[in-house]
C-alpha cells in the first residue's frame, strides 16, 4: 500500500514510453467441469497514455472477461489464464497478489454495468469514495475527506459535501454511477475500465455519463477502455475500437476507418444493424380502429406507511389519447418509469383506478413481455404452453390444438421437436420466439409487445424483429410496440408515440418523427440513440 504516485509521475514525464498497457496473447478459460470452456482467445491490446478505446461485442464475446483480467479480478481457481498483461513491466497475470493490489484501484480502476448494486448498501458514500485512497495512500482524516469531496465534485455531483454523508439507496442510478466514477478516479489512475457503464441507465442519463467520461479522459489524461455493445455510442466516444466475437478480437483500429470500411463479416453485420432513416414508406393499413383511448388517466395508490394515514395517489398516465388502426404497428417510446408499461396494463384491463375512456375491439388481446426467461412457466413443456390460450378461449379438440401448436412453432422458425422441451432447455432468443408464438395462438386482433427484444443480444434482436415483422405482414395483427430503444422502434413501427412522464408528447408517422422531431425531448432521445448527427447533420 505504499505511495505509488511518485512512480506514476516518473512515467508520465517520460514521453518515449507512452505505451502504458500491453496485453499479449491473452487466453481465458473456465474449467468448472472436465472440459475447459474458452471465453477469451489470443487477445492483443495496447493502451497508450490518454487513449479512449472502445471494446465492442455482444454478451459472451469475452469483452467483460478481458476487462476483469486487466483489473486483476479473475483470481478464482477455476479460471485458466495464459498470455501477458504488462503494466509498467509487471505481468498482472503472474505477479504477486500484493503487487497486483498496489495496481488495482490505484493505477487501473474499474466501473461496472450495475451502478445500483455495485456500491456497498450499508456504507456512506464518502467512505466508499475514500476507500481506494485509504488503501493506496497514507493521509490524514481531513485530507481523505477533502480528496473525496473533490472527487465527488469532479464527477459533477451537486453539493458533494452533502452527498458525502448519504447512503447509496438515497441516490439515483445516474448519481450512483457518478459516485463509482469518483471512487475510480480518486487515485488519479492511468487507466479506467468502464464496463457497459451506461447500459443500465436511461438514455438522457447515459448521455451525461458519456460526456463525463469524455471530459475525464481529456482533463485528467486517464486512458479509458470503454466496453459496450452499443456501436453508435462507441463511434461517438472512442477514436479507437476493438470488435470482439466469441472470445476473439476480430477487428481493431481507428473507429471511423472501421465504420467506413469494415473488413470482418461480423463487423459488417453489426454496422448493418444500425438503421438508416428516411427510407420507410408509410401506407395507412386500414381505417378500422382496433384500440382507441381518449383522455386516459391512471393512478397508483401510494402507501405512506402510517396505519391510519391518508391514502395518496400517484398520477401515472396523463390525458393519453390515441388510435390504433387495424393491421398497424404503433410504437410507444419512452424512458423507464414514464408509464409505458402502465398503459399496456390499462389497455388489458389490469388497472382499475382510471378515468377517461378506451375501447378495445379485440376480446383477447395478447402480450409479449421483455423477459423471455421469467414469462414462461418453467414447469410446463413448450407444447403445453402453446396450447394454453386455445384451451382458454376455444373448444378445439386436443389433436387439433397440438397440430396448431406445431404449425405455429414452425411459423416462428422453431422445429416441432421443441414441443416436448422445457423452457430452460431453450436459449433466450428461442424462448422469445415461443412467447410470440403463444401470444399469436389464439389469433388475436391486438397484441401488446412490451420491450420484446430488450433482453436479447443485438443479432438475436435482429432475428426476432424480422420474425415479428414477417408474422405481422402475414396475419395482419395490430401491435402496440413498447420500447425504450429507438432503433428497434424505427425498424418495425409504422407510427410512433413518444411518452414522457405519463404524457404523450409527440406522435406521428415514424419517418416524420425521426426526421423532423418537434419536441426537444424527442430530439434528445434521438441524439442519444445516434440518430441525429448521423443522417441529418
Amino acid at each position: 500500500m505504499e505511495q505509488t504516485t511518485q512512480e506514476k509521475l516518473n512515467t508520465a514525464v517520460n514521453p518515449s514510453e507512452d505505451l502504458i498497457l500491453k496485453v499479449t496473447d491473452l487466453n481465458i478459460a473456465f474449467h468448472d467441469h472436465s472440459l475447459p470452456e474458452t471465453v477469451v482467445v489470443d487477445v492483443d491490446l495496447q493502451v497508450k497514455e490518454g487513449d479512449m478505446i472502445g471494446i465492442v461485442g455482444e454478451s459472451g464475446s469475452g469483452k467483460t472477461m478481458t476487462a476483469l483480467a486487466i483489473n486483476g479480478l479473475l483470481n478464482r481457481h477455476d479460471i485458466q489464464k495464459k498470455g501477458e498483461i504488462l503494466y509498467k513491466g509487471i505481468n498482472l497475470l503472474t505477479c504477486s497478489r500484493t503487487k497486483l493490489r498496489q495496481v488495482q484501484g490505484n493505477d487501473i480502476s474499474m466501473i461496472f454495468q450495475e451502478p445500483m448494486t455495485s456500491l456497498d448498501p450499508v456504507q456512506r458514500i464518502g467512505k466508499q469514495v475514500e476507500e481506494p485512497l485509504r488503501l493506496h495512500e497514507k493521509l490524514t482524516e481531513e485530507e481523505y475527506k477533502a480528496r473525496a469531496v473533490e472527487a465527488l465534485g469532479l464527477v459533477e455531483l451537486p453539493d458533494p459535501e452533502e452527498i458525502y454523508n448519504r447512503y447509496p439507496h438515497e441516490l439515483s442510478g445516474g448519481q450512483r454511477q457518478r459516485v463509482m466514477i469518483a471512487a475510480a478516479m480518486i487515485c488519479k489512475p492511468r487507466i479506467l475500465i468502464a464496463d457497459e457503464p451506461t447500459t443500465a441507465l436511461d438514455v438522457t442519463i447515459q448521455e451525461q455519463i458519456v460526456k463525463l467520461l469524455k471530459k475525464l479522459n481529456q482533463t485528467e489524461k486517464t486512458a479509458i477502455l470503454f466496453i459496450s455493445h452499443d456501436l453508435s455510442l462507441v463511434r461517438k466516444l472512442c477514436p479507437k475500437v476493438a470488435v470482439m466475437k466469441d472470445g476473439y478480437v476480430v477487428e481493431t483500429g481507428e473507429t471511423e476507418a472501421i465504420f467506413r470500411n469494415p473488413q470482418h463479416p461480423y463487423t459488417k453485420e453489426l454496422i448493418a444493424a444500425i438503421p438508416e432513416i428516411g427510407v420507410k414508406q408509410y401506407e395507412k393499413k386500414s381505417d378500422e380502429i382496433i384500440v382507441s383511448a381518449r383522455d386516459l388517466n391512471s393512478y397508483y395508490p401510494a402507501r405512506n406507511g402510517k396505519l391510519f394515514g391518508k391514502k395518496k395517489k400517484v398520477h401515472i398516465l396523463k390525458d393519453v389519447s390515441f388510435d390504433l388502426y387495424k393491421g398497424e404497428i404503433l410504437g410507444l417510446v419512452g424512458e423507464s418509469g414514464c408509464g409505458k408499461s402502465t398503459l399496456s396494463k390499462v389497455l388489458l384491463g389490469m388497472v382499475k383506478d382510471i378515468d377517461g375512456s378506451f375501447t378495445n375491439q379485440d376480446l383477447h388481446p395478447q402480450m409479449v413481455f421483455q423477459d423471455p426467461y421469467g414469462s414462461l412457466n418453467p414447469g410446463k413443456k413448450i407444447g403445453w404452453i402453446l396450447q394454453e390460450p386455445l384451451k382458454n378461449f376455444t373448444n378445439l379438440a386436443e389433436n387439433i390444438r397440438e397440430e396448431k401448436a406445431v404449425t405455429m412453432l414452425q411459423k416462428v422458425g422453431l422445429s416441432a421437436e421443441l414441443m416436448d422441451r422445457y423452457p430452460n432447455q431453450l436459449s433466450g432468443g428461442q424462448r422469445q420466439r415461443v412467447c410470440i408464438a403463444a401470444a399469436l395462438m389464439a389469433e388475436p386482433g391486438f397484441l401488446i409487445a412490451d420491450e420484446p427484444v430488450s433482453a436479447l443480444d443485438v443479432h438475436i434482436q435482429e432475428q426476432v424483429l424480422t420474425l415479428l415483422k414477417e408474422l405481422h405482414d402475414q396475419i395482419g395483427v395490430s401491435i402496440l410496440f413498447i420500447s425504450h430503444d429507438l432503433r428497434v422502434v424505427y425498424r418495425v413501427c409504422d407510427r410512433v408515440m413518444i411518452m414522457k412522464e405519463g404524457r404523450i408528447v409527440e406522435s406521428g408517422i415514424t419517418d416524420e418523427v425521426f426526421l423532423h422531431p418537434k419536441e426537444e425531448y424527442t430530439r434528445e432521445l434521438l441524439r442519444t440513440s445516434g440518430f441525429l448527427g448521423k443522417n441529418i447533420v
Binding site: M110, T117, S118, P121, V122, Q123, E131, L135
Partner: protein, 318 residues
C-alpha cells in the same frame, strides 16, 4: 434515530402488551379447573367454597376482575398468590435474575461461537473443516437442550467430576459459584442455537460475497480480509439479526425445561409448580412477563436493525 418513531413504536408496544394481558386473563378464566377446589379439596362444603371465592374476588364479573388485575401491574405487586398468600412480586423477585442471567449467558455463548465460526466456515467454504462442521452442526441442531443437558451433566458431573448435579449455588451466597453452576445449562441451551446461527451467518456471508459491491471492493485493491470485514460482514449480519432476536425470546421461554433438568429455582420452575397448584395469579404474571420480554426484544431488534441497515431507516421515516 428519530424520536417520533420511537414514541410511536412505544405506544404500539403498549397496545400489544395490553392485548396479550387480556388474552392471558381470558384464557385462565375459561379453562376448566377451579383454584378454589384445588385449595380446599373436593370434599369442601359449598358455603366454604363460596366464602373463599368471595375472599379471592372470584365472584365478581370478568371485566371487573380484569381491570383490578391490571391495577396490580400498575402498583407493581402483580396480585397475591393463592397458595402462599404473599405478593406475586415477592415470589418473582428472587427468580427472575436467575433465569435472565442464564439466558444472557447462553446468548453471549451463541454470539461467541457463531460469529467467528460462521465467518471462518464461509471463508473456507467447501474445505475439509467446512464439510466436517456441516455434519457436526446438523447433529448439534438435532439435540434438544434438555437432552444435551442430561449428557453434559453425565459427562461433567459423573465422569469428570467438575460439576455437582443439583448443587445450585444462590447468587446471594456466592456469585462465582452461581455463575459456575449456570455454565452447563447455558451451554445446553446455546448449542443448537449456536449451530443454527453459524449456518445462517455462513450462508449469508457466502451470499454477500457474490454481490456486485464485493467485486467493486476487490477492484479497489482490497485484500479478502478487507472486503470481508470492511463490507461483507455488516451486510451479512442483517438477516442473522432477525434470527438472533427470535432466538433470544425463544430462550427465555425455553428456560422452563432446562431449569427443570438442572434443578435451578428460576422462573420456569416457579411456573411449573404454580400451574400444578392452579396458582393463577402467579401463572398469569409469568406469562405476561414472558410476553413483555418478547415484545421488548423485538423492539430492541428493530432498533438494532435500523442502526445497521440505513435502507430500513429511510424506508420507515418517509
Amino acid at each position: 434515530m428519530n424520536l417520533t418513531y420511537v414514541l410511536k413504536k412505544l405506544i404500539s408496544l403498549l397496545f400489544t402488551l395490553l392485548l396479550t394481558a387480556f388474552l392471558v386473563f381470558l384464557a385462565f378464566s375459561v379453562i376448566p379447573g377451579d383454584p378454589v377446589t384445588t385449595m380446599l379439596g373436593t370434599q369442601a362444603t359449598p358455603e366454604k367454597v363460596a366464602a373463599l371465592r368471595e375472599e379471592l374476588g372470584l365472584d365478581r364479573p370478568f371485566l371487573v376482575r380484569f381491570v383490578s388485575w391490571l391495577g396490580t401491574f400498575v402498583d407493581g405487586t402483580f396480585g397475591n398468590s393463592y397458595s402462599y398468600h404473599v405478593t406475586v412480586r415477592s415470589m418473582l423477585a428472587g427468580k427472575l435474575p436467575i433465569t435472565l442471567t442464564m439466558t444472557v449467558m447462553a446468548f453471549l455463548m451463541i454470539l461467541a461461537i457463531s460469529i467467528p465460526l460462521g465467518i471462518y466456515l464461509a471463508r473456507n467454504s467447501g474445505g475439509r473443516t467446512d464439510r466436517i462442521m456441516t455434519v457436526v452442526n446438523q447433529t448439534i441442531m438435532a439435540f434438544p437442550p434438555f437432552f444435551s443437558g442430561i449428557l453434559l451433566t453425565l459427562l461433567f458431573g459423573l465422569v469428570l467430576h467438575l460439576f455437582t448435579p443439583g448443587g445450585y449455588v444462590s447468587y446471594t451466597r456466592s456469585i462465582p459459584g452461581f455463575l459456575g453452576y449456570l455454565i452447563l445449562p447455558a451451554v445446553a441451551i446455546a448449542l443448537p442455537k449456536a449451530a443454527m446461527a453459524t449456518n445462517y451467518l455462513k450462508a449469508s456471508v457466502l451470499k454477500e460475497m457474490k454481490m456486485d459491491y464485493v467485486r467493486t471492493a476487490y477492484s479497489r485493491g482490497n485484500t479478502t480480509k478487507g472486503v470481508l470485514y470492511g463490507h461483507v460482514l455488516r451486510n451479512a449480519i442483517i438477516p442473522v439479526i432477525t434470527f438472533l432476536g427470535m432466538t433470544f425470546t425463544d430462550m427465555i421461554a425455553g428456560s422452563i425445561i432446562i431449569e427443570q433438568v438442572f434443578s435451578i429455582p428460576g422462573i420456569g420452575r416457579l411456573l411449573i409448580s404454580s400451574i400444578a397448584n392452579r396458582d393463577y395469579p402467579v401463572v398469569e404474571a409469568i406469562v405476561v412477563l414472558l410476553a413483555f420480554f418478547v415484545i421488548v426484544t423485538n423492539f430492541a431488534i428493530d432498533i438494532i436493525y435500523r442502526l445497521v441497515d440505513p435502507r430500513i431507516r429511510s424506508a420507515q421515516e418517509e
